[in-house]
Amino acid sequence: MLSTARVASRRISSSNAKKSFATVVEAAGYKVSAVDNGEPTSSVTILAKAGPRYESKTGVAQVLKNFAFKNTSQRSALGLVRETELYGGVLSTSLTREHIAYTADFLRGDESFFVDALASSLTSTRFTRYELEESVIPAVASESTHAISDPANQALEIAHALAFRSGLGSPLFIPVQKSDLTAEDVKSYAESAFAKDNVAILGTGIDQATLQKLVEKYLGSAPATTGNKIAAPTKTTYFGGESRVQHSEHSHGALQTLFIGYGLASAVTPELAILASHLSTVPSVKWSKGVSPLAATLPEGASASVVLLPYSDAALFGLLIQAPTAEKAKEAGKVAYQALKDAAAGNVKKEELAAASAKAKFLATAATESREGLVSAYGPQLISGAASSLLSVADSFSKVDASSFTKATSTLLKSKPTFVAVGDTHHLPYPDEIGL
């Protein structure tokens, strides 16, 4: 009974995997892909390979993100907002270290207006100086202040700078009141960022042919190639290092935070994902402590979350430890590092590894169920033009055995650690005090 159920579920997952963004078409020079699973709402995302990693001037990517949906030559920012409200849609933007995404979510049937809105934002934003000063810079400042007031974000920002220095180390949030960026800088960055070969258009809940037609209609007149191209990424190198900072002045009562991390100068491996779910303290059942070796040993009040950030040619793996006092953070840091060392020494039972592998596989495949997950999983592949199926991701987890897991973990731990302490720097531990 059980085995038949499993076979059936496997068949479903494989057919789903085939359906998801199986076809990529070129429309007006843009790579367009859509999947329609019959949702009542549609969503169109324009994804550009133009995160801080590629920026020409520090912060220009974040400013560009906040310049989305401002005055264009077709309609004003106010008109866009009011019309979007009338249609009942949502316009949003997001920024990761490698990509900028403009997204429109809307009811079925309104796709013509929203693709037009996205297209005009992409190609004909006016980038006026006074908009930069009146609305964009204040938005950037508040976004940065808000993000950095969370010590976890601050620790990750510093960790990226230590681990990768330039490129992926560029800050996601620029310091408040940074004003040496001009509207012209943003405009020229946008031109290179939204060049046709640098952008992918993904739709969910929308028919591929419809989306293709709309893209041709609204983006057909966009110039084929602009003079300036986005800088080719430099090959990422992992450095590592140590840094200690006080809490920012905006974080009141913030937790004492430690980050112990290691980087890879290659794309994330299934072994790392399994290690992450092995250590993850998030329980699978509510009100339980979970079976993670870390969750059982953490002192009361302290938390440790596993951070695994995959990039196109690098990955950052680490443990983010937060506690109300520096003493507890130190204790939790010791415990967390011990758990990492145990995993590297091969002290992981066979069944623990199998459970972690299943969890990792579930997380990787379940992530693509949501729209954001689907876009972040397929978008980057779409830009580069090579889309892999879900199946290969899921299969890669079954190939990991105990020896390859131990080998990958111990190699990871042999590299130079990235250690960040944010908070009460006089009492937070130094790396050697927690055994690094």
Binding site: S76, L78, G79, R82, L86, R129, Y130, E134
Partner: protein, 127 residues
């Protein structure tokens, strides 16, 4: 005020007709010269009524350089007024320097205000 923050103007109508323009332009030049603001070192846009929200908004959109020059001309003009003397002739505004640096910003703000009131008072019809 009739015709928006900048008042009533026939300029665009006169400019559109070639013969009318040829006839009116010398008259306009003569008028601009005898009105005397150029002798105080001003340019025409310094005289715009600024005590209204839309012009204040437009003033906030000037580049730092334009803003600095405007304040400089106003202070120099005030001083000339206090001493009851025109500026020395080499400091008079030349006709080619008398550009409308503020008007484009004012009309842009005016357009924005009109659009906002349009959206605020619209009636939505179901198609």
């Amino acid at each position: 005020m009739v015709g928006g923050p900048l008042g009533l103007s026939f300029a665009s109508y006169i400019r559109s007709s070639r013969s009318l323009y040829k006839w009116a332009k010398p008259l306009a030049n003569w008028y601009a010269n005898i009105s005397g603001y150029r002798k105080m070192g001003f340019v025409y846009d310094d005289l715009l009524l600024e005590e209204r929200p839309d012009v204040q908004k437009a003033l906030s959109r000037l580049t730092p350089r334009e803003s600095y020059d405007r304040i400089y001309r106003i202070r120099r003009g005030s001083q000339a007024s206090i001493v009851h003397h025109d500026l020395p002739k080499e400091q008079w505004t030349k006709p080619e320097d008398d550009v409308r640096y503020l008007t484009p910003y004012v009309s842009e703000v005016h357009k924005e205000d009109l659009e906002r009131s349009k959206w605020d008072t619209m009636q939505v019809k179901r198609k």
